[in-house]
Structure formats: structure tokens, C-alpha cells
């Protein structure tokens, strides 16, 4: 759709009504993964490897099975063989095969009549291990003599002579980087490291699963995508996907970490073995931290050439990222593709190594790969701006990507709003506040592709003219509110007359998860199309009633009306009237839409942070924080702001405190929220937001996804602010107080 066709005036879009699930969530009534029970239910407990890398010699469950109340024990022997590719990966992670690959890897599981009995029984399962050498750190794993995590894992992309833990290699770019570096007045190259972090959703993974010996099953589960759960669980268990009915609970956060399975098939396997009794499996926090989620850790070299006026002439990135002991989990391709995505650089080169290590299977985490890449690239750009005494926003505006720019990852950009975010950041009062001693300001921009994905939405007109919308994207950040707004806007009816339900796998065609910032974009686009299809039918019903051509009827303000004076004189026929008569005018009226939508709009944002660093302790206080991001169009601005603020807070945690700490024995040392230190209310100030609206021509209301980009700039913005405050540059995360203090004391650049 051309830009000028995007309506500027809306009745409902851009308003802030109460969210439909608000009442349930403030009264404790909303039902999450662990909140459902079933008659005859058993409870599961999982036996996990205490070793980072060990051969499983023997599993003896005799004593566990002898405990009164224990109904079933499952091990890998209870799962089918012969899987390949990602299905085998998923099965290997669900229950270890011959080798436990990380501390916390599931080895066996028990179902019993109470959670306490199940936990007792799990301790009675005797596992004999032969401990193998392990490797944790990404740079250690790159050594030629490192312990080999998965022998023979390297695919054809890996050049001969690469270290044995490199599973995949990639390179891409354009232009002539050597010539580009020659044109530069200043060339700098630095190495950056980021630690693995966890998505940190407060709700641990939980599901209630039931499966009979006939292979028919049901699951109630907290997930971002129940069709993914269905397909993956069916593959791991060797049953047909359609025989599994998966209902999503309310979800207590995912951030990418609940787009895949971890222990869900275990509940079904236990149920199948325990005569079909339902089994509830709820992870503890330490299980969540040891065995689910995290994102990759990264080691990155970046080289940039800049002219005295700030023009970037060439850039090169070489990234090494580990995503655990499973092939294909490292987001190194995404990281490289995002690294220079904010810039228009004529000469570019990227190289990436996917590295295996004895760590949990990485999952997606909000803009996977982009925050690490931004930390490296945006830190170096800032350092060069300082070296050349240039304003960091001006340099980004000078080199910033615009409509028509050939992106760093290949294709040309459509309509994008990076420049608008930079201009708004520069004009914001925060950018003009005078700073005091030990204070510093940091700026950084960030990018995410956004995603369309398989989408199926159904809409039904009720007998009273109210409307039900069935969607397959679980609501995490308020999408039911935004989908109701778009549907009501399209139909010309009140917001309150629309109810949006997230429905089970049997009720719609396949839907991808709520991921890739796609729920409001893709389910929204489909809901609008479904509403348009229903409108067409309602106009036809009115036309038939009036005895005129369907083309002579149009839809206006929630009613069918004759299109123009020549169509005849009839009073508007409201949606309520049409709905009340539909049984006798042709039957129920519904609209539906299935597609893998294109028209995704790329997302850019710019953050400005002011910090104060205590030179005595190394403690950093965030004085003020500004997020400016292009939403395309904000359907429900309060929840767009919420995405911006939440992304910033997660990024601040990643920058400052969050990290996976492993001991020399390869065991995770901080699998508790006390030691895995996420931001708390007293760590943060109010987070200022500016919503830029550069409408996306690929969506009927101009929506771009807003969920992910916000986590990207905080890492470098914070490093840049600390450098401005202290004169010390930190190039490894997290920038915890001891590290900042040590860097200040060393006096040199970190």
C-alpha cells in the first residue's frame, strides 16, 4: 500500500483502553502454566546431570520405582530412535542419550502421586557417569586442543583446519574493505566479549500433559507458540501432530525462551507410561537457569574505518558465538546481519563461527544476536567519535541507513525510521541536560528485522453483533488489546464489542509463535483481513435484503449502507441487526485469513542514557534513560511504551549485572535469582519514551513490530556512558561494579 493511502485519522487506534485480561490479572484469576490441575493427576520430577560432560554408563531406577506412590520412570530408552536434524537435537535435549552435554541436562524423570514423592524418587534414581573433559568459554572452545563437545559436528561450511568445536562457518559482505580502510583517516579494531544471559521470565516452564497408549494426547502449557510445542513434542515422542491437542495457558513471560520445548514431552512420556494419568511438570528456578533458555555468549572482533568528518568507509566483523552443545543454536548469523544494519557502509565484510560448548541449548532471546553485535559495533563507533571529537548522533545521521540504502546484510531497505529516531533523540530535553562530575552520556542505535510468519486468524459475528476473534499467538505484552482495537476499527464498532481469544491447536490452522515481534503485525494484519471478509458478507446480506447489488452496498460506522444516492434509500443495517438475522439470511457469518504475510517493516531505535559512576565502588547509577523507537504506528501506545521500557530494562541488566557464572567443574554457580542479578525497581529510574511513527506500508494500519529492538542499544549505550563518565572503556560484559572499579584503578582502557 502506498504511504499516502495509510489513513492518518483513526477512531480507536492510538487510544489506550483497558486491556481485556486486566481484571483477571490483577485479581489472581488468570491461569498460568502451573495453575491447572486434573483429576488423577501425577507430579513429575526430573533427574539432571551434575556434570558438564559425562558418558551415561548406567541408569538404575529400581529403588525409585519401589517407593510407594511412584507410577513411572522414563529415560531416553522410552523415546523412539531414528530422528535426524533439529528433531534429534530436540530429543537429545529433552532426555540425554549416551552423553550428558551440560550441567543440568535431563537424564531421567519420575511421575508420582505427589510432588514431594516425585522429588524423593528422583534422588533414588541411580545414574553412573564417566566424567569427560568439558569446555565452557567461547574462546576456550575455539582452541584447537579444546575438549570436543560433539565429534563430527562440523558441516560443509566449516573450512578445513578449523578448531573441532566450530560447527558452522559463514562469511558475507560487499565492496572492497581493504580499499575502504585505505580511504579512512582513522582505523580502529577492538575485541569485545559478552556473557550468556537468561530471558529471565518470572514464570518457570510448566505444563500438564496427558497421553494414552493410543498416542492421543492433550497438553496445557505456558508457551509462546503451541503449534511449535505440538510439532516438536510429536516428533520427540514419535506420535502424529494432529493427535496432540495443545492449549496455551496465560504466559508469564517468554522473550524467545518459550518458543521451543525443553521438558514438555517428558510429561507426555510419563503419562503414556503411567496408564494415561495426567502429569504436571513444573520446573524450579534453578532448573530454568541450568537447563532452559539462555542466549549465546560471544567473542567479537570489529574493525572500522572513519574519515575525519565521520564518514564510515569500511567495516569488518568477525564473531565467535557459542549456543551450547547443540548444533544450530548460536545466533551468529543474526548477529552478523544486525551488526552494521544501522549504517550505509560501502565496504563491508562479516565472518562468523558457530561454536559448541558444554552449556545448555541456547534459545532465542529478544532480537537474538543483535544486542551482542550492537555492543561491539556501537561501542567502537562511539570510541571513534570521541577520538575524532564528533557528536555521536551526527555521525549516525551522516552514515545512517535510509529508505533505499543497501543494507549490510544485502537487500535494500524500504521505508524505515532510523533517522527520525536519531533526530528525535537529539531534540529531546534529556540530550541537553548538563552533566556533573563522574557523570557521562551514552548513545547507541539498534536494529531488528521483524518477522511475519505463518498466521491463521478466525473471526465470528455473534447473534447480537458482538465479535469473537480467535488467534494463535499467545498474548504476552497486551496483544489481545491491540488486536481488538484493530478489529473494532476495521468493523466500525466499539472496542468493548470485540473479544479476542488465544485458542488451542485444534481451532485454527498452524500459527508460528509470538516471536520476531510479529503478534500485532501478523495476527493484526490477518484479523483486519478476516474482518474485511466478514464485512463483505454482511454487505451481501444487506444487499439481498434490500434487493440491490452487493456492489451497491458499503460498510460505514458498523453498518451496511447504500453506496451513494443511486443505490436506493435504505436506513443503515447495523452489525447487530445483520447478526440477529443471519441464521435466516444464509447462516453464520465469519471471516478468516491464513497467510505467511510479507510487508514486514524493519525496526530501528536510538537510546540515550546518562549515568553516574561512583569512583570509590565502581557502582553505576542510571540517572535518566531515553528510548526512541519507530513503531510504524502505535495501536495501543501504552503497551508500545511498555515494550520499549521492558526491553531497555533487560538490556540494562545484561549490560550491568547479568551473567552465567561457571565453576572450574563446569557447573553453573548462580542458578538462583539472588545471584543471577536482574534489575529491581530500585536499580532504575523512570524510562522516558518517544514513539516515532513512520508507517509501515506493508500493514493496513502501518504497524511494525516493536518487541525486540529495545533490548539492543542499552548494552553499548551504557558502555559509552561509562566511558564518558570515567574515561575508561569496558569491552566485556557485564560491567559489574568490581569490573568497573578494577578498570578505573588500572586507569588504562579496559
Amino acid at each position: 500500500m502506498p504511504k499516502d493511502e495509510l489513513k492518518q485519522e483513526f477512531r480507536l487506534i492510538g487510544t489506550r483502553p483497558d486491556r481485556p485480561d486486566g481484571l483477571d490479572k490483577v485479581t489472581g484469576r488468570a491461569r498460568y502454566g502451573a495453575d491447572i490441575s486434573a483429576p488423577g493427576m501425577l507430579h513429575a520430577a526430573v533427574v539432571r546431570s551434575p556434570h558438564a560432560h559425562a558418558r551415561i554408563v548406567r541408569i538404575d531406577a529400581t529403588k525409585a520405582l519401589a517407593l510407594p506412590g511412584v507410577k513411572a520412570v522414563v529415560t531416553r530408552a522410552d523415546l523412539p530412535t531414528g530422528l535426524t536434524g533439529e528433531d534429534l537435537n530436540l530429543q537429545d535435549n529433552t532426555l540425554a542419550g549416551d552423553v550428558a552435554l551440560y550441567d543440568g541436562h535431563a537424564v531421567a524423570a519420575v511421575a508420582a502421586t505427589s510432588a514431594l514423592i516425585a522429588q524423593d524418587a528422583a534422588k533414588l534414581v541411580e545414574v553412573t557417569y564417566e566424567v569427560l573433559p568439558h569446555v565452557i568459554d567461547v574462546d576456550d572452545a575455539m582452541r584447537p586442543d579444546a575438549p570436543v563437545v560433539r565429534p563430527g559436528a562440523a558441516d560443509h561450511s566449516v573450512p578445513e583446519g578449523s578448531p573441532p568445536n566450530v560447527a558452522r562457518y559463514m562469511e558475507f559482505g560487499h565492496g572492497d574493505i581493504e580499499a575502504g580502510f585505505k580511504d579512512a583517516d582513522l582505523v580502529m579494531e577492538k575485541t569485545y566479549k559478552t556473557e550468556a544471559t537468561h530471558q529471565g521470565y518470572i514464570e518457570p516452564h510448566a505444563c500438564l500433559g496427558q497421553m494414552g497408549s493410543d498416542g492421543k494426547g492433550e497438553m496445557w502449557v505456558c508457551t509462546q507458540g503451541h503449534w511449535y510445542i505440538r510439532r516438536m513434542s510429536a516428533a520427540v515422542l514419535g506420535v502424529e501432530a494432529a493427535q496432540l491437542r495443545v492449549t496455551p495457558s496465560e504466559i508469564g513471560g517468554g522473550f524467545g525462551g518459550k518458543t521451543t520445548i525443553f521438558s514438555e514431552p517428558i510429561a507426555l512420556a510419563l503419562s503414556r507410561k503411567a496408564g494415561g494419568r495426567p502429569v504436571k511438570l513444573v520446573m524450579s528456578r534453578s532448573e530454568v537457569l541450568r537447563a532452559t533458555g539462555p542466549t549465546a555468549s560471544a567473542s567479537m572482533d570489529v574493525r572500522i574505518g572513519m574519515k575525519k568528518d565521520g564518514t564510515i568507509t569500511a567495516a569488518k566483523a568477525v564473531f565467535r558465538m557459542q549456543g551450547g552443545a547443540f548444533i544450530g543454536m548460536s545466533p551468529v548469523g543474526e548477529a552478523l546481519s544486525c551488526a552494521f544494519a544501522c549504517y550505509d557502509i560501502p565496504n563491508l565484510w562479516h565472518e562468523g563461527h558457530e561454536v559448541l560448548a558444554n552449556r545448555p541449548k541456547a534459545a532465542a532471546y529478544r532480537a537474538p544476536g543483535s544486542p551482542m553485535a550492537a555492543f561491539a559495533v556501537e561501542s567502537l563507533v562511539d570510541e571513534m567519535c570521541r577520538a575524532l571529537s564528533l557528536d555521536p548522533i551526527d555521525v549516525r545521521l551522516k552514515n545512517g541507513a535510509r529508505e533505499g540504502t543497501k543494507s549490510s546484510y544485502g537487500p535494500k531497505y524500504g521505508v524505515i525510521g532510523l533517522a527520525e529516531t536519531l533526530q528525535a533523540a537529539k531534540a529531546h530535553p534529556n540530550y541537553a541536560v548538563k552533566l556533573g562530575p563522574n557523570q557521562g552520556r551514552g548513545v547507541a542505535s539498534g536494529f531488528w528485522f521483524n518477522h511475519g510468519g505463518e498466521t491463521s486468524v478466525s473471526l465470528a459475528i455473534g447473534e447480537d453483533g458482538s465479535v469473537t476473534v480467535s488467534v494463535g499467538t499467545p498474548d504476552i505484552g497486551g496483544s489481545r488489546a491491540s488486536l481488538a482495537l484493530m478489529t473494532a476499527e476495521t468493523l466500525g464498532i466499539p472496542y468493548e464489542d470485540v473479544r479476542v481469544n488465544v485458542v488451542e491447536t485444534g481451532a485454527l490452522g498452524v500459527n508460528e509463535p509470538t516471536h520476531g515481534s510479529r503478534a500485532t503485525f501478523a495476527s493484526g494484519k490477518a484479523a483486519v483481513e478476516a474482518a474485511r471478509s466478514a464485512i463483505k458478507q454482511m454487505c451481501a446480506r444487506a444487499a439481498a435484503e434490500w434487493g440491490i447489488d452487493a456492489e451497491a452496498v458499503e460498510w460505514k460506522d458498523g453498518a451496511a449502507v447504500p453506496a451513494g444516492p443511486n443505490a436506493g434509500k435504505f436506513p443503515p443495517m447495523s452489525i447487530a441487526e445483520i447478526g440477529s438475522k443471519m441464521g435466516s439470511t444464509g447462516g453464520p457469518i465469519s471471516g478468516h485469513h491464513e497467510s505467511t504475510p510479507g510487508g514486514v517493516g524493519a525496526s530501528f531505535g536510538t537510546h540515550v542514557v546518562d549515568v553516574e559512576v561512583d569512583p570509590e565502588t565502581g557502582h553505576t547509577t542510571v540517572l535518566r534513560y531515553l528510548v526512541v523507537q519507530d513503531a510504524g504506528r502505535a495501536i495501543h501506545p501504552a503497551y508500545v511504551e511498555g515494550q520499549y521500557q521492558g526491553g531497555a530494562a533487560q538490556g540494562i541488566g545484561w549490560a550491568l549485572n547479568e551473567e552465567y557464572v561457571y565453576g572450574a567443574d563446569g557447573r553453573l554457580q548462580n542458578p538462583l535469582f539472588l545471584d543471577y542479578r536482574m534489575p529491581v525497581a530500585s536499580d532504575l529510574p523512570m524510562i522516558d519514551t518517544v514513539i516515532i511513527e513512520v508507517p509501515n506500508p506493508g500493514h493496513p494500519y502501518g504497524v511494525r513490530g516493536v518487541g525486540e529492538t529495545g533490548i539492543t542499544p542499552p548494552l553499548p549505550a551504557r558502555a559509552n556512558a561509562i566511558a564518558a563518565a570515567t574515561g575508561v572503556r569496558l569491552r566485556s560484559l557485564p560491567m559489574s561494579p568490581p569490573k568497573v572499579l578494577a578498570a578505573i584503578k588500572a586507569g588504562a582502557d579496559g
Binding site: A34, E203, G252, Q645, L684
Partner: protein
């Protein structure tokens, strides 16, 4: 292990349940009494999702045993509204969009109410430090703090 009979009061109602001596108050509320509004996010008292008050004192119910509830007055999220009349905090959380996925919301509401019961006019800093024991991963806390401050202001003007 044999179970222990516990008599207590939850949200003003007398209740009885049988607790395994190892079960936490949170387990008993959720599994014995069906009060699943209190959530378990960590089981170690770090996230505050299980916040309740016991004889008026804010506690993490995952750190207290069910048998310790004998003879106490316990208040949970389920008792916060009076019938259909929401507590001002509950209304302000909806109004300010102070929740996204909402898993932390019950604990934060219970904790915020405990604050306002003690201190009807807290500063932003006081709210932030009081709620520092309640993790929220979605909101960055901004809208939560605004909702609590606004609810406090409304309650002061009504008082």
C-alpha cells in the same frame, strides 16, 4: 511422613488443611486451598511473586512452612478486592498498563498494599526500594511505580 492438621484464616475465611511438614505456605495455598493467585517464580524468596501478608506482615509464602500458618490471619491477592470493588491499586494497575504478562502482578499488588497500609504518602524512591523484592521482567517498573503513586494519591484524597 504423616501430615499435620492446620487451622488458619485466609482472606477472612476460616480454613483447614493437612500439610506435609515440608510443604511451604505457598504450596498449601495453591495446592490445598486452590488459591493459585500467588505464584512461585523462584522458591527462594528472591522474586516476590508469592507475596502474602501474615498477621499484617509482608512475607514470601515460599519461605514459610504451611504448618506455621496455624492460627494466623493470611491475606492473599484473592482477598484484595471486596467483591467486585477493586482495590485502588488494582484499578490503577489496569489504568496505567502496569502489567504485561502479569505473572508478577499479584505479588507486586500485595506488596504495594502492604506499603500503603504503613505509609500512605511514599516517595518514588520509597516505592522503588519497598518493591525491590518483587521482580518484574516486562515493564522496566516505570508504569508500576506510577500506578502505585497514583493509587496512593487517590487513597489519600478519599481518606
Amino acid at each position: 511422613m504423616s501430615k499435620i492438621h492446620v487451622s488458619t484464616t485466609v482472606n477472612g475465611d476460616p480454613v483447614d488443611f493437612l500439610a506435609d511438614p515440608r510443604e511451604t505456605l505457598l504450596d498449601c495455598l495453591r495446592n490445598q486451598l486452590g488459591l493459585t493467585g500467588s505464584k512461585e517464580g523462584c522458591g527462594t524468596g528472591d522474586c516476590g511473586a508469592c507475596s502474602v501478608t501474615v498477621d499484617g506482615v509482608l512475607v514470601s509464602s515460599c519461605l514459610m512452612l504451611g504448618v506455621e500458618a496455624e492460627g494466623k490471619q493470611i491475606e492473599t491477592i484473592e482477598g484484595m478486592a471486596r467483591g467486585n470493588d477493586l482495590h485502588p491499586l488494582q484499578r490503577k494497575f489496569i489504568e496505567h498498563a502496569a502489567l504485561q504478562y502479569g505473572f508478577c502482578t499479584p505479588g507486586i499488588l500485595v506488596a504495594a498494599k502492604a506499603l500503603l497500609d504503613k505509609n500512605p504518602d511514599p516517595t518514588e524512591t520509597e516505592v522503588r526500594y519497598w518493591l525491590a523484592g518483587n521482580l518484574c521482567r516486562c515493564t522496566g517498573y516505570d508504569k508500576i511505580i506510577r500506578a502505585v503513586m497514583d493509587a496512593a494519591a487517590e487513597m489519600r484524597s478519599a481518606a
